[in-house]
């Protein structure tokens, strides 16, 4: 068994976690990235709420990357950690929709770029996490029967 076929679960989760942070930070855009700021009563400029959506996505993406590392180091924990990664994918989907929603105007930059991109990343992480969990279960069952 090659390194890749033994560790595809951990590697996929690691790549998806690091990818989420990088893509959210450098590819997907929030309103602050295109210079849209909010004016406070005192006349100061403050970032709109989608700025914090991006920060939250960065944090969850980082956690997914750590889960990938754990899966590589502790292969026996892969099943549980894969399921946790799938759950983190669901959290990613929930961030721009409910937890820290993007700006209310559907035509603002965050709704055209950040929100759909993060939902897509969340779906991919959930699917990969579930697939990895199912595959790990099969391995555990095979080892148990042997």
């Amino acid at each position: 068994m090659s390194f890749l076929s033994r560790n595809w679960r951990g590697l996929s989760v690691l790549v998806l976690g690091v990818g989420s942070v990088l893509v959210t930070h450098f590819v997907l855009k929030d309103c602050a990235d295109v210079g849209h700021m909010m004016k406070t009563a005192s006349g100061m400029s403050a970032p709109m709420r989608c700025f914090y959506t991006e920060r939250a996505v960065d944090v969850v993406g980082g956690l997914v990357a750590v889960m990938g590392l754990v899966m590589l180091w502790q292969r026996e924990a892969s099943r549980a950690v894969s399921a946790a990664a799938a759950a983190a994918g669901l959290v990613l989907i929930a961030i721009p929709l409910w937890l820290l929603p993007t700006c209310p105007d559907g035509m603002m930059e965050c709704n055209l770029s950040l929100k759909p991109g993060v939902i897509m990343l969340g779906v991919v992480i959930t699917v990969v996490g579930l697939a990895a969990a199912v595959q790990s279960r099969r391995i555990v069952n095979t080892e148990a029967s042997a």
């Binding site: 209310p104 559907g106 035509m107 939902i119």
Partner: protein, 404 residues
């Protein structure tokens, strides 16, 4: 009590074979899924854009729009995307257009671009001042939905304008009550706010003292004149006639707007179609290779089937059925993925290419999904048919002793 064990029918055999090598089956499904998703999204965009143009132009209620000569392109963008514009011409133009033979009725509109809101998160809005006595666009809807005219402090908002109903909106220091929200059209009207022209004039006058920046509209000016023709089929000829009769104006027909949208749609399709074609080709090649390998691997099995009495057709059907089932699963997953991805990135895509879009009804979307699934199944069956037929035509003895 356990169920009696039944012999594997063709469907059971097919399913069993697919599950025997899940990795290989999933690769084939993913290839078909990508192709089906691209084709489905392309079909959805094409249908939705045409639907939006049909509904939007119908709702506009006019056969022609007369605007200042230099404002044709901006008007097109405003009509299609609701991008705010503001340009003015002498209000007397409405009378001059009405006097052109072949014109049935006219109605002036005044356009205003609002100031961007400092609060999170409303951008600039496109205000359209209409004349309640002659209006062709909002008035028919207004009578149907509200059964009355708008009060001077009332506005109607497009389907995508973010507001509470009933609620208030403030433009240039003047507060308005939101009386209703128009049905979606998929075009610029969805991003617009409609109010009586007299209210626009009052708002402009008040803005000097109430607004951060005063609204300057020349007295008696209009931005566009909506025109209904005696014979709507003559719109192109009438547009030329009006442009010749009234100096400094240009007339935009519904056909011109549709052609402009078709041009923008062609731009989008010019990169989507090669992608769809490429992915389809790769999927077909992959299927062909995969089923060549599968048939070679199963030559002995097919030979045995033939030896115990299966006909050539049954042997081919088992393999082609397997391919069709894989294709159908991939097609269905692709239609779902195409729908999901398009729903997510719809706005970004349409803003980038300047296209209107209105979702076709659910039945039409479902029919497209069925067509894509059936197409994927057919394509997969066709690519598997040749290698399957080749092996099924072998004498059972040779097939059993063939080296897979």
């Amino acid at each position: 009590m356990s169920r009696p064990v039944r012999g594997p029918g063709l469907v059971r055999l097919t399913l069993f074979n697919l599950l025997r090598k899940p990795g290989r089956s999933s690769t084939a499904v993913v290839a078909v899924m990508l192709a089906a998703a691209t084709v489905f999204a392309g079909a959805l965009i094409g249908t939705g854009v045409q639907h939006a143009v049909r509904v939007g132009m119908g709702r506009l209620g006019a056969d022609l729009m007369v605007v200042p000569r230099g404002a044709v392109s901006a008007t097109h963008t405003a009509l299609v995307m609701g991008e705010p514009v503001a340009f003015y011409m002498d209000g007397a133009v409405a009378g001059q257009v009405a006097a052109v033979p072949g014109v049935k009725s006219v109605s002036g509109q005044t356009y205003v671009e609002t100031l961007a809101s400092a609060a999170c998160c409303t951008g600039r809005l496109f205000l359209i001042g209409f004349d309640p006595a002659t209006d062709l666009t909002v008035q028919p809807w207004l009578y149907r939905a509200l059964g009355r005219n708008l009060a001077p402090d009332e506005i109607l908002v497009g389907a995508h304008v973010l507001t509470a109903i009933p609620g208030t909106m403030k433009f240039f220091g003047t507060e308005f009550q939101v009386a209703g929200q128009l049905d979606p059209t998929g075009m610029g009207m969805d991003e617009s706010v409609f109010l009586p022209a007299a209210s626009v004039a009052a708002m402009a006058a008040n803005s000097v003292t109430l607004a951060e920046k005063p609204l300057a509209i020349p007295p008696g000016a209009v931005s566009a004149v909506m025109v209904r023709l005696v014979d709507p089929t003559q719109d192109d000829a009438m547009a030329a006639k009006i442009a010749a009769a009234v100096p400094g104006v240009a007339a935009i027909t519904g056909g011109q707007v549709s052609r402009g949208v078709t041009r923008d749609l062609a731009n989008l399709m010019s990169w989507l179609l090669p992608i769809a074609g490429g992915v389809l080709l790769v999927a077909a090649l992959l299927f062909g290779l995969l089923f060549s390998a599968i048939t070679a691997e199963r030559a002995r099995e097919i030979g045995l089937l033939r030896a115990i009495g299966a006909t050539q057709f049954q042997a081919v059907a088992a393999l082609v059925g397997e391919a069709a089932l894989l294709g159908a699963i991939g097609g269905l997953a692709g239609a779902g993925a195409g729908l999901g991805l398009y729903s997510l990135f719809q706005k970004a895509l349409l803003v980038e290419f300047g296209l209107p879009f209105l979702w076709p009804d659910a039945l039409q979307v479902a029919a497209m999904g069925v067509l894509v699934t059936a197409g994927a199944a057919l394509l997969a069956a066709a690519t598997a048919a040749w290698p399957a037929r080749r092996i099924a035509r072998l004498e059972p003895h040779f097939a059993i002793h063939a080296r897979g």
